[in-house]
Symmetry: C3
Subunit: 442 residues, 3 copies
């Protein structure tokens, strides 16, 4: 446990992967879309763990260039063959109905039905995920192999949905820090039964907020669970002034598979969050990939639009669109694993640790090296598993703590993990060899 109940490595507990997985599994079956009761039900599950405030924004509200759409809800949907057998049943998978499908109740020939069916001919066993938010339409999604097996007959098609004035829903959980400067953590809540994209992200952020509860932090942490695109736009439109407090931010999605990890930099490219996350991932293993910002992806598109240009990056495992499971029924609970969720959690927690604890120190004894031996600092440090690394870290911290370089600067320069540099800095500070400088206002 870190001193003074501050946020630190203690949040990475052994069971964290299982805890995240359990919540992801619980919200997996819910049929979410950019509006509607699926979102509300998901937020209720999240709210069982953390203090979540749900916001409702009425249909028709203008949010910058966009308008909050009508609310979509669905109760049931199926395709019955002439024998009355349901060949497609929404109750079995929320992916079976194209999101925002308008209500329909018809009898159709196979040829007519096919005009309203999406499949993936190259992945014939998978159901695709499709939406039509802003063009009124209806469709079913199914496995291509199943479609090919349908006989020429008359089908009864029912989509018991509604598209009418209502509201858009998003949830916020705020962890108050010592300052009003904010760290934004954002996950989209609009995808239906896709485990990695983004039940994994919703569940991870929920447990991060839960672990953070009661701990002291410098920054105020805002956890945002909002529908993709329109939800982020709505939040920004309603919080334009507040958004200026955001000093660091991460969009989180697809954090449960075994690929990556991948970090996409903020539009600024050299923000503190970029440097911190890149540092953490480089020490997490050789497989980490860092990509420059591009204006395509998740809600970093909105946070990093030129009128905001917030320091918000994107953390994922496999990169969106780079894996065959992406936006199909193969993105199910078998695709995500507790151990991957735990690794993702640790990467994010360690990045927050860097952001919270980076500081500039001055060597109080800058002329030549201090004599470490007479202070008992030469050789093994009590309890340390790696005396040689600690010894080198002491030399690095002493030499480069000249009032201009932060601990992260030193960690980068020395190729030592921030956690080691930070621990050594505390030991040196306790021995009076290091003094913390005033950190410059951001």
């Amino acid at each position: 446990m870190d001193r003074d109940g501050r946020f630190g490595e203690q949040v990475v507990t052994p069971d964290i992967g299982e805890d995240i997985f359990a919540l992801a599994a619980k919200i997996f079956p819910i049929c979410r879309s950019i509006t509607g009761n699926g979102v509300r039900q998901t937020l209720r599950e999240i709210g069982a763990h953390i203090a979540l405030e749900a916001h409702e924004v009425p249909t028709g509200t203008q949010v910058f260039d966009w308008t909050v759409p009508r609310e979509w809800n669905i109760r049931d949907a199926y395709i019955k063959d002439s024998s009355g057998r349901k060949v497609v049943d929404f109750a079995q998978s929320s992916l079976h109905v194209m999101s925002y499908s308008v209500p329909v109740r018809q009898r159709l020939s196979l040829a007519e039905l096919k005009q309203h069916v999406h499949t993936l001919p190259e992945q014939p066993d998978l159901i695709p995920y499709r939406t039509s938010y802003y063009a009124e339409n209806w469709a079913f999604c199914m496995a291509h192999r199943q479609l090919e097996g349908l006989r020429e007959e008359t089908y009864e098609v029912v989509i018991d949905s509604s598209l009418q004035d209502g509201s858009l829903t998003y949830g916020e959980c705020v962890h108050q820090g010592e300052t009003e400067d904010e760290f934004l953590l954002s996950a989209h809540v609009c995808h239906p039964s896709l485990a990695n994209d983004n039940c994994s992200g919703l569940a991870l952020l929920t447990h991060l907020a839960k672990k953070m509860s009661g701990l002291r932090t410098h920054y105020t942490y805002r956890f945002l669970f909002a529908p993709g695109t329109i939800g982020a736009i709505t939040w920004l439109a309603r919080n334009e002034e507040r958004s200026r407090r955001i000093k660091h931010g991460l969009v989180i999605s697809m954090v449960g598979d075994g690929g990556g990890p991948t970090y996409k930099k903020s539009r600024r490219g050299d923000a503190a969050i970029d440097r911190a996350m890149i540092h953490v991932l480089r020490h997490a293993g050789p497989a980490a990939t860092v990509v420059d910002f591009s204006p395509y992806g998740y809600d970093e598109r909105q946070y990093c639009s030129p009128g905001f240009n917030l320091p918000v990056g994107l953390f994922q495992r496999s990169r969106y669109g780079s894996i065959p499971q992406y936006h199909t029924s193969a993105d199910n609970l078998d695709f995500i694993r507790p151990e991957h969720l735990a690794q993702s959690f640790a990467a994010i927690a360690n990045t927050i640790d860097v952001i919270e604890n980076d500081a500039v120190y001055s060597n109080t004894n800058p002329k030549c090296e201090p004599q470490l031996g007479k202070r008992g600092l030469y050789g093994a440090i009590g309890g340390s598993s790696d005396a040689a690394t600690d010894q080198m870290a002491m030399l690095w911290v002493l030499n480069f703590s000249d009032g201009t370089r932060s601990l992260l600067d030193i960690a980068e320069r020395s190729n030592l993990p921030f956690a080691v540099v930070r621990r050594i800095a505390r030991i040196l500070e306790e021995h009076g060899l290091l003094a913390r400088c005033q950190t410059s206002a951001e």
Copy 2:
């Protein structure tokens, strides 16, 4: 055809390679040197296509550290064996006589003759190209194999040349643009029958000037056809004040072979012409080579001398000196091809297109993305062959058009061709989503 009759992609016509080749073939046989009637005759052929002004600068004129030399002309030259047979005949190739050879009419033994013969022992079938501008001398150039076949006998040697006061000749064609800022295009006119070096460059620039005629341009384009080194020095000495208007420039030579393309950066290294040409070549194919400025090569040596330091680069296919045909009789009309000339023409035209059309825009809707769908901009754009590329280009242009980045900046950042970025910017401008910023004065 580009709007408003402005310079654009329309100048790259299907027959352009054949047109350039035809002119190169026509001027190929002429015996050019740094002065004399060969240059005048070449300029007359060029002047049959464009409005060319020929300048005559008298022998003895001081041009910076140099003096315009005496004028050299040649009517005939041969070596006859004792039977009266011409074993070497200037009428067959202008390469047979070393440029600036003084007149001679002698009978010589083979041993004496060999003192005045240049060959290429390692390329025994080729005639070398040799000059002696500033040391009075005479020599023949021939195939080494032919020299080895000469018998011991008395040879009659005749060079019917003259070296006397006259003038140095260069030609200029000026395309008036909307501003007095200039774009210099320069090709050397002093090499005799070498097809690539530089009949190709002379013919390409002639047809570029011809295509540009009647089109509107921002810059004033100066096409300069001058002898190498002394011609560029003479032009700079006579136009020192005017040279300050040159904002961009290219030296063009060896543009008809199948190698490269090669771009040698200006001495500045980061001039607009450098960025534009590098961008165009990177999208032209994987074989393009970019090299830093060095003070050896063509007339960029003079334009980039420290007292001028003009933003002038060098465009070639194969790099000078890097190919066995260089400065030999193998640099003939078989060595250049219409398709290579057309590619070179396109590279230069596209570079001019970047220079003419690069501009800084501002996203009029910078807070979050605009809703492209309600404007019909989401999905396929009418007439576009690549809807996905266009979609991404829209996102890039919108996100990065923040009043500080130009279209070329965005093209470089997004790795999209400038032509795509520029077209998308116009569409977005037409929809009111983009506004052109005042371009800063250069």
Copy 3:
């Protein structure tokens, strides 16, 4: 011989490697430590070649965070078996006794003896080098194979040493230059019979100072022979004001083996000494390695501590700790070679040549190239072995001598050796084509 008796390439004489080796061999047997008569005897040998001033600093003197320790001397030491045979004899190798071992005269069982013996089990034939400066203790060092051969019997152990108030000794030789700005050359004098580490460095610097004697230099050269760590700290503590004159510096150690060469940059990383040494090593051969500063190594740790941050790098052949001979009896006179010492000497002398002679020139004829031919500079330059290189060097120096770039800048840009660029600059200066600019004060 360089003009005017200035320091130049003439210091690299054919016998220099043999001369350095001879001195290294002479001081090799002496038992040095951080204090004591071994250091004094070594300085006397060095003082036989150059004007060396020895300084004595009393035990107990406070030097920054450190205190000058008691003086250690040793006369004899051995381990005798029960038959009276000396199984270990200090007279055979000064490595046999751990440096700063307190006096001992005991009879011990083998088991008791082993508590006070250091060996290298993985290099069983070598004697390790060990010290215990700041913890009172005693020990012998021997080959592991020899230890394993000792029988169970009673051993007589004698270390006839003394540890008492005295002084720390270091030597300085100053070559007065035309200015008070200093170039520091520093070698540690505290290691006992280790040939490469650092008899080689002591001998090289001695002969460099000897060669420099009588030659004119811009900088004042300070040769410092001091015990590692405490010696450098002591010098800095006593010369804090003077240290500000140090504009360039090198720590020299392990310069006689066939590895590397290796240059470790100063903490600044872009100091003139860094650029000069890197340039010289890149032209010395492909094996040169350049590493960034790190706060571990030799006395650059003190010179580059943040309170001094002097522009001092480290020159070595093999890097410390990277070779099996490091700090063992295998670092003997067989491990160093005259030819390697000569190469190391040349690298350092050439680096000094760059530092002494780098200067900024202006092309007096900056508009277009000057006509080299009329000055006899076109083609071969008298006495030059490489006319083509000289020709290119002339073009580079003329084009880039614009009053902002130094000869080293031009050498780096053109990839030509500084010595060539410097020679060509003098020729151009003699022809009035180049004028030396006022060099900016450092």
